[in-house]
C-alpha cells in the first residue's frame, strides 16, 4: 500500500521529515537515539503545571477555600494572580528550555543543504519546510503544555470571588493565555536566532550563538528558580505588579486571561494588548528573519569559517602546566579543542555553566548578598559556604554529560590505534582536565572571598573540607568511567528524567546545604574540623581507591553498552543497531 501512495508536495514532505527529526542533531551517535529521552522529557513536562496545584500539596490543601471564605475578594484574586503568573512563568521556562534544546533544528543545517543539493528542491522550500516544522512543533508543544493547566485552573481558581465563575470562560481564558505565552517564548527564541544570523559577522556566528544559548539557558533556569517565590507573593506585592511587572511577559499573558474573563482594569487591558502584540510580533519577526536570512544562512553554512582562530606554531596553554607528557598533552589538546569548537559540546557545557551561574544568582537574590548592604556579610557567608559545592554538583555532571556525547564518532580510530600505548596517561589526563575545568575555577573564585570574609585559618579549614567533598563527588560520578571523552557512542535517556531531576533536587536542596552547614561550623571550630575531616576524607579515599582498581589496564569503551535500560527489550534492538552503525565506520 505504502509503495503505491503518491508523494506529497516537496515542501510538505520536507516539513514532515524535519518534524519527525526535530530532536535529531549531532547530539547522539545515530538518528532516533533521542526518542526515549524526548518521550521521558515530554512525559515529565506536559503535566508540569500540576506542580502548582495547591490542592495536591498536603501542606496547602484548602488554601483557596479559606480565601473564598473571606469577606473581601481581593486576597483571593491576588492569590490567583500570583499562581497564574507562576503557571505562565513555568510554562514559559519549559517552552524556552525545549526551544533551546531544538535550537539547531529551527533553521536548516549544513547537512540539509548538502543532502538536498542534488535534488530538485529550492533553498526557500527547505527554509519554508523548516519554518513549517518549527511552527507545527511550537503549536503542538504549546497545546500539550496548556491542556492540563487549562483543565485544572477553572476548578482551582473558581468560586464566588472569581471574576467569571463559569467553567467554559475560565477554560478558554486560561488556555488562550497559556498557549500564547508558550508560542511567544518559542518564536521569540527563534527570532533571536534569526537576529543573530542577520546581525553577527559570519566568523563569530557559531561562537556568539552558543554563548547566547548558554545565557538564555541560565536565564531560564534562574526564572524557573524564582517561580516558587512568585507563587508566594503577598497581596501587597500583587498590588505593586504595575510598578515592576509591566515588561514581564508572564504578566502580559496573565493580562490576556484577565481581559478574557472580563476584567476591564486599564492596567490588565494594557497588558493583554502587550501580550497580543508580543505574540504577533515574535511570529512576524521570525517570519521576516527567515525570509531575510535564508541566503545569508546558506552562505554561512556552506562556506563555513575560513580559518580557526590564529594559532601560532607553538602556543602556550595553561593546561601545559598540568603535565609534560606529550600523550597527556594530546588529550588536553583534544578535550579543550572539542569543548571550545564543537558546537554541540560547547552548548551543553555552557548550559551547565549557565545553571551554576543561575544557582549563584538565585542564592544571591534570596539572601540579598549582592544588593542589600545590611545583609551583605551574611549573604556572602552563605555564598562562600554553599556555592562551591552547589556548583560542583552542577558542573561535574555537566562536564560528564558533555564528554559522553561523541564528536565525529568514526574519527575515533586514531585513538583506538594508539590506546594501548597510553591508556593510563590518557585517563590521568582526563582526571586532570576535569579538575582544571570544574573544581579549579570554582575554588580559585571562592578561596580569596573566603579568606577575605573569614580570615586565613577558618577559610583554610572550610576550603579543605569543601575540596574533599568536591573530590568525593567527582569520585562518585566518575566511578565507572571507562572511555575517552567524545570518542564513545552515546545512548541518551538511559536514566528516567524524573530520577535525574530528583537527584539534582536532592543534592542541591538537601545534601549540599547539609554538608555546607557542617563545613561552615567546622570552619569556626578546629575541633569540629578534625571530627569532620575523616568523615569526609574516608568516603573520598574509599571511592578513589575503588575507582583506581585496575585503572588504566582495562580497554576503553568505544560503544555505549546501553544495557541498563528497563524498556521491555525495545532499546536492546536499538542498541544493537547503533552498535552496528558505530562499528560500521570501523568495519565497513
Amino acid at each position: 500500500m505504502n509503495a503505491q501512495r503518491p508523494t506529497r508536495g516537496r515542501t510538505r514532505e520536507l516539513a514532515r521529515h524535519f518534524l519527525r527529526h526535530m530532536f535529531d542533531s549531532e547530539w547522539s551517535a545515530s538518528t532516533g537515539q533521542w526518542q526515549p529521552a524526548v518521550v521521558g522529557l515530554l512525559a515529565l513536562i506536559l503535566p508540569s503545571a500540576m506542580l502548582l496545584v495547591r490542592e495536591l500539596d498536603p501542606f496547602q490543601q484548602g488554601y483557596y477555600r479559606r480565601l473564598l471564605a473571606l469577606p473581601a475578594p481581593e486576597p483571593f484574586r491576588a492569590a490567583v494572580m500570583a499562581d497564574e503568573i507562576g503557571v505562565l512563568l513555568l510554562l514559559s521556562v519549559v517552552t524556552g528550555v525545549i526551544a533551546l534544546f531544538v535550537w539547531q533544528s529551527l533553521y536548516p543545517s549544513t547537512r540539509d543543504c548538502l543532502a538536498l543539493a542534488g535534488l530538485p528542491v529550492r533553498p526557500r522550500q527547505v527554509f519554508a519546510a523548516r519554518l513549517a516544522a518549527a511552527g507545527c512543533f511550537a503549536g503542538g508543544l504549546a497545546a500539550g503544555l496548556t491542556l492540563l493547566p487549562a483543565l485544572v485552573a477553572p476548578s482551582e481558581f473558581g468560586g464566588r470571588w472569581a471574576i467569571d465563575s463559569s467553567w467554559g470562560a475560565a477554560f478558554v481564558a486560561q488556555a488562550t493565555a497559556a498557549w500564547g505565552a508558550c508560542v511567544f517564548v518559542f518564536f521569540a527564541l527563534a527570532a533571536a536566532q534569526g537576529l543573530l544570523l542577520n546581525l553577527v559577522p559570519r566568523r563569530w556566528h557559531a561562537r556568539v550563538s552558543t554563548w547566547v544559548q548558554a545565557l538564555l539557558a541560565g536565564g531560564l533556569l534562574l526564572a524557573g528558580l524564582r517561580l516558587w517565590t512568585v507563587r508566594d507573593w503577598p497581596l501587597a506585592t500583587v498590588r505593586r505588579i504595575p510598578e515592576f511587572g509591566a515588561w514581564w511577559p508572564p504578566v502580559w499573558f496573565a493580562g490576556v486571561r484577565e481581559y478574557l474573563l472580563g476584567n476591564r482594569d486599564p492596567f490588565w487591558g494594557m497588558m493583554a494588548a502587550r501580550g497580543g502584540i508580543a505574540l504577533a510580533g515574535a511570529v512576524a519577526l521570525t517570519l521576516t528573519l527567515y525570509l531575510l536570512s535564508y541566503r545569508r544562512y546558506r552562505k554561512l553554512l556552506l562556506e563555513g569559517p575560513a580559518r580557526v582562530r590564529h594559532s601560532p606554531t607553538r602556543r602556550w596553554s595553561p593546561l601545559d602546566l598540568l603535565s609534560r607528557d606529550p600523550r597527556q598533552r594530546a588529550i588536553f589538546q583534544f578535550l579543550s579543542t572539542t569543548l571550545a569548537r564543537s558546537r554541540t559540546h560547547r552548548a551543553v557545557w555552557l548550559a551547565y555553566i549557565g545553571g551554576a551561574a543561575a544557582v549563584l544568582l538565585n542564592s544571591s537574590i534570596v539572601d540579598g548578598a549582592l544588593w542589600v548592604s545590611r545583609r551583605r556579610q551574611a549573604g556572602l557567608d552563605f555564598l562562600v559556604l554553599f556555592w562551591p559545592l552547589a556548583s560542583t554538583a552542577i558542573l561535574l555532571p555537566g562536564l560528564r554529560h558533555a564528554m559522553r556525547i561523541p564528536a565525529e564518532l568514526p574519527a575515533h580510530w586514531m585513538f583506538r590505534l594508539r590506546e594501548a600505548e597510553g591508556r593510563a596517561a590518557w585517563m590521568r589526563a582526563v582526571e586532570r582536565f576535569i579538575a582544571a575545568y570544574t573544581l579549579a575555577p570554582i575554588y580559585l573564585l571562592a578561596i580569596p572571598l573566603s579568606i577575605w570574609l573569614h580570615g586565613w585559618m577558618p577559610a583554610a579549614r572550610m576550603t579543605v573540607l569543601q575540596i574533599i567533598a568536591s573530590l568525593a563527588m567527582f569520585e562518585a560520578l566518575f566511578q565507572s568511567w571507562q572511555q575517552l571523552p567524545f570518542a564513545c557512542s552515546y545512548q541518551p535517556g538511559k536514566r528516567p528524567l524524573v530520577t535525574v531531576i530528583s537527584g539534582y533536587v536532592g543534592v542541591l536542596g538537601a545534601l549540599v546545604p547539609a554538608v555546607s552547614l557542617f563545613i561552615g561550623a567546622a570552619g569556626k571550630s578546629a575541633i569540629l574540623f578534625w571530627v569532620l575531616l575523616p568523615m569526609l576524607a574516608a568516603p573520598w579515599l574509599w571511592l578513589h581507591l575503588a575507582r583506581r582498581e585496575g585503572w588504566g589496564e582495562a580497554p576503553l569503551l568505544y560503544a555505549d553498552p546501553g544495557d541498563s535500560v528497563p524498556d521491555l527489550g525495545i532499546r536492546e534492538m536499538r542498541v544493537q543497531t547503533a552498535a552496528l552503525t558505530g562499528s560500521g565506520a570501523i568495519s565497513s
Binding site: G304, R314, P410, E421, G422
Partner: protein
C-alpha cells in the same frame, strides 16, 4: 616480517574474511586488491588491531602482535579507507595531536609537520579546519599522520583516493622510496594500474578468500594475460559488465 596466518572474520555468522594468509618481507610492497566487499578493509583492520579476528593470528617479527600490541602499533603507519578526521581541528592541530599521541617530542613534531605540510602544499591551509578541506587535502593529512612516527610498516587503504595527479605521483615515488629503505608496505587499492607499477607481489581477494597470491610477473605467465586488470577480471568477475550496463540503460528508459 609481517605474517598473517589464517585470518578469518565473521559478522553475525556472515563470513567476511576466510582464512587469509600471507607474508610481507622488509622492502616489499604487497598489493592487496579485490572487488567491493571482498574483505580488504576488514583484513586491514584486523591486522592493525581495530577488529578482533574470529580465527587466525598476525605475527610481526616472529611474535604474535597480541603479545605486544602497543609495540606493534607504534611501528605502523595507517591510512584508513575513509578520511575520518575531527572536523573542527585544523590540519596542523590534527597532526600535532597525532604526534603527541605517539609520544613524540614537541620540536620533533613541529619540524616534521612543517616539512610534511609544505611538501604536500598544505602549509597555507594549516590553520583551516579540516571540515573545509577537500577530500584530497584530508587524504594528504592522513598520509602525513601515517608518516609522522617514522613507521616500519605502512598499511595504506586506498591512499591515493581524492589526490590530484601530482600528489599521486609523489605518493607512488614515496612508496617505492620507503620500500627501498627496507620498510614493509601493505597497499590496498582498486587502482590496478598503480598496484601493477609499484607492487612486487599482489594478493587478490574475492568474497573473503584468497583468489591469487603471487608476483605479478608469475600471474601474467600462469594466466596468459598481459595486464593485472585482465587477471583481476578473470579471477573475480561473475557477470558480464556490458550486460549489466545494458540492463541499467533499459531500466532507465522504462
Amino acid at each position: 616480517m609481517l605474517e598473517v596466518r589464517g585470518l578469518t572474520k565473521r559478522y553475525a555468522g556472515v563470513l567476511a574474511v576466510d582464512h587469509v594468509s600471507f607474508q610481507l618481507a622488509p622492502g616489499e610492497i604487497l598489493g592487496y586488491v579485490g572487488p567491493n566487499g571482498a574483505g580488504k578493509s576488514t583484513t586491514v583492520k584486523m591486522i592493525i588491531g581495530l577488529l578482533d579476528p574470529s580465527e587466525g593470528a598476525v605475527f610481526y617479527r616472529g611474535h604474535s602482535v597480541l603479545d605486544d600490541l602497543p609495540g606493534f602499533q607504534s611501528e605502523i603507519g595507517y591510512v584508513p579507507e575513509e578520511p575520518y578526521l575531527y572536523p573542527y581541528l585544523s590540519g596542523y592541530e590534527y597532526l600535532e595531536l597525532t604526534g603527541r599521541l605517539r609520544g613524540m617530542s614537541a620540536p620533533d613534531i613541529a619540524s616534521k609537520i612543517e616539512e610534511f605540510l609544505r611538501l604536500f602544499s598544505l602549509w597555507d591551509d594549516r590553520h583551516t579546519p579540516v571540515a573545509s578541506y577537500s577530500k584530497g587535502m584530508r587524504q594528504k593529512i592522513l598520509l602525513s599522520a601515517a608518516l609522522l612516527g617514522n613507521p616500519q610498516l605502512l598499511i595504506l587503504d586506498e591512499p591515493l583516493s581524492g589526490l590530484d595527479v601530482g600528489a599521486m605521483l609523489v605518493v607512488r615515488e614515496l612508496m617505492q622510496g620507503l620500500a627501498e629503505q627496507g620498510r614493509m608496505i601493505l597497499y590496498s587499492s582498486h587502482v590496478l594500474e598503480v598496484v601493477e607499477k609499484v607492487c612486487s607481489r599482489v594478493l587478490i581477494l574475492n568474497k573473503g578468500r584468497v583468489a591469487a597470491h603471487d608476483s605479478i610477473q608469475h600471474l601474467r605467465e600462469t594466466t596468459h594475460h598481459s595486464s593485472l586488470e585482465a587477471i583481476f577480471s578473470e579471477l573475480t568477475r561473475e557477470s558480464d559488465p556490458r550486460a549489466i550496463a545494458g540492463r541499467f540503460l533499459e531500466v532507465m528508459g522504462s
